[in-house]
């Protein structure tokens, strides 16, 4: 599997080449952290708990969000959309390499870069702002959290590739992808914990695949789930992974058939 290792390396080089846009992207996430830090600190100034969160839990949610976003929400599917639309995909199809695995390696390089940067940012924030960080009491919690995060990564991969496959049929796949991202951020709990929603809406959102991506793993880390909720969360995650596994595969097979190497 040396070829995929090489893809990872060359992708990493490419990432380093676009330092400016990478730094911009990180600046965006740091801004989000600072904004939410200020917001929640203000709200917690006269109370000990809010929406069932303690102050340290809420601030850890914000910081954890930064790391999980870097790990889960970073991908190169925009690149993929371009490759399909411009017909560059042809070059991958005629070489002895699997395009999906190639994309995965490219995503991994992106994730690595973002993760390293995000961990540095969070450590920095912890030191400077003296944020009370919530440390899980049980080591098992960390293991469970890592497992849920791994599932979340897989689910996100399958979801974005299903949306990306739209590019096989329309040259305007960027639009749907943008809408997807907007809804995704909100529904995954990237802005606020889903607890801010009315109870019925929250329950509904928890059943959607999005909450499995960020909200669920972070709740594990913050030890806010009872065993029943934990099992339910994993069941929802696995259910959606199963659904998207078949759906994404089917839509890709269909897409590749429809692919006519545009232009020329």
């Amino acid at each position: 599997m040396k070829k995929y290792w090489q893809v990872f390396q060359i992708s990493l080089q490419q990432e380093l080449y676009y330092r400016a846009s990478f730094i911009m992207d990180r600046a965006r996430s740091i801004t989000i952290v600072i904004a939410f830090y200020a917001f929640w600190t203000a709200l917690f100034s006269d109370r000990a708990t809010l929406l069932g969160f303690s102050k340290s839990q809420m601030l850890t949610y914000v910081l954890g969000m930064n790391i999980l976003r870097a790990l889960i929400f970073s991908d190169k599917t925009w690149e993929m959309l371009r490759e399909i639309n411009m017909g560059r995909l042809s070059y991958y199809l005629i070489r002895p390499i699997s395009y999906i695995r190639y994309c995965l390696c490219r995503d991994m390089a992106d994730k690595c870069m973002h993760l390293v940067s995000s961990v540095l940012e969070v450590s920095f924030a912890l030191l400077i702002l003296n944020i009370p960080f919530y440390v899980p009491r049980d080591f098992l919690t960390v293991l469970t959290f890592l497992t849920a995060s791994a599932f979340a990564m897989l689910l996100y991969f399958l979801m974005t590739y299903a949306v990306g496959a739209l590019a096989f049929w329309t040259a305007e796949s960027m639009g749907p992808r943008f809408c997807f991202e907007l809804f995704l951020e909100f529904a995954a709990g990237a802005f606020f914990p889903l607890d801010v929603l009315p109870r019925s809406l929250k329950t509904a959102f928890e059943l959607l695949p999005f909450s499995s991506l960020l909200y669920f793993p972070l709740n594990i880390f913050l030890e806010r789930l009872d065993p029943e909720a934990l099992l339910r969360g994993f069941a929802i995650q696995i259910f959606w992974i199963g659904i998207f596994f078949y759906f994404t595969r089917a839509i890709w097979n269909k897409g590749l058939q429809a692919y006519c190497a545009e232009g020329g």
């Binding site: 090489q6 080089q13 490419q14 042809s90 070059y91 005629i94 070489r95």
Partner: protein, 355 residues
Amino acid sequence: MIPVIETRHLSKEYKISIKQPGVKGVLRSFFKKEYRSVHAVKDLTIQINKGELVGFLGPNGAGKTTTLKLLSGLLYPTSGSLSILGFIPSNRERAFQKKFSMVMGQRTQLWWDLPARETFKLNQKIYEVPDSIYKKWVEELIDLLDLKELVELPVKKLSLGERMKAELCCALIHSPEILLLDEPTLGLDLIMQKKLRSFIQSYNEKTGATILLTSHNMSDVEELCKRVMIIDEGQLLFDGALEKIVHHFAPDKVVTLSTSTPLVKEQLEKMGKIVAMNGKTASIEVPRQAVMSRLQALFSQGTLIDLSIEEMSIEEIIRRAFLKASSLKEIEPRTKESLEPSPEEKPNTSERLLP
């Protein structure tokens, strides 16, 4: 001779959506997409032997690229069959993919922001070329293509010609037995075109690889290919040696003459078809077998100052081939080769088609 590329009655039909112009058209196609089907390749039967360097000529939209895409396995044929080295391309077997390569003139497989050498290395791993072989071979290619320090620069800094050379190098990392080149000289200046051609030729001679190149640049084919296929509107019009095309589609030679006295149109018309006439000079197309006998009359008048007898330019010949084909659609493409009319009795079909 071993055929390495074989197609039988290969056809490919596309469906393309039609968009009406204007906002109204966009809205209309948003709700109701209309499709038109295009027959990009029609009943193509060809056979290419190992080591051949074949030129695939045709105007834009003739079906050249579609044929290459079918051969590379990017497209499924609508009907008919094809095989390369015994493989069916659209199965996209790894063993097949390691044996061929394709360069698409307008597209790049190089990583735009990185030095070309990085993509070479990537291809080495993708095609699983052993380090020891790769190191020697890549340096040889770089040397042959005169790339040297260019491979250390980000690809986007290269000129079109330099990029095309890097592109070729990248496509040859795994020493493919079959090389498909789609418009390799498109947009390049004459010197670069020449360099690329001589490289392609030496690669063919050195490795014995089978090369199929498409072009609408006649010089590519003239210099490189002994065998030429002409395709238009998806149909094969001609398949054979380049010299044969001349006999096929250009039964006339062009006689250009200058005289000391003004030329008489009626007299010239007896010689052949007048292409241009301007006082004391004229160009006439004369059937090749009759050139000498008809010129005799001129000599005897003794007013001749200058005379040249030339073959038509290949470009012109090909252009005629296409024009002739469109006016002779009912004739099967395959049979045309044997249909060579003797110049004397040949009806001058191209006459009204000349500008």
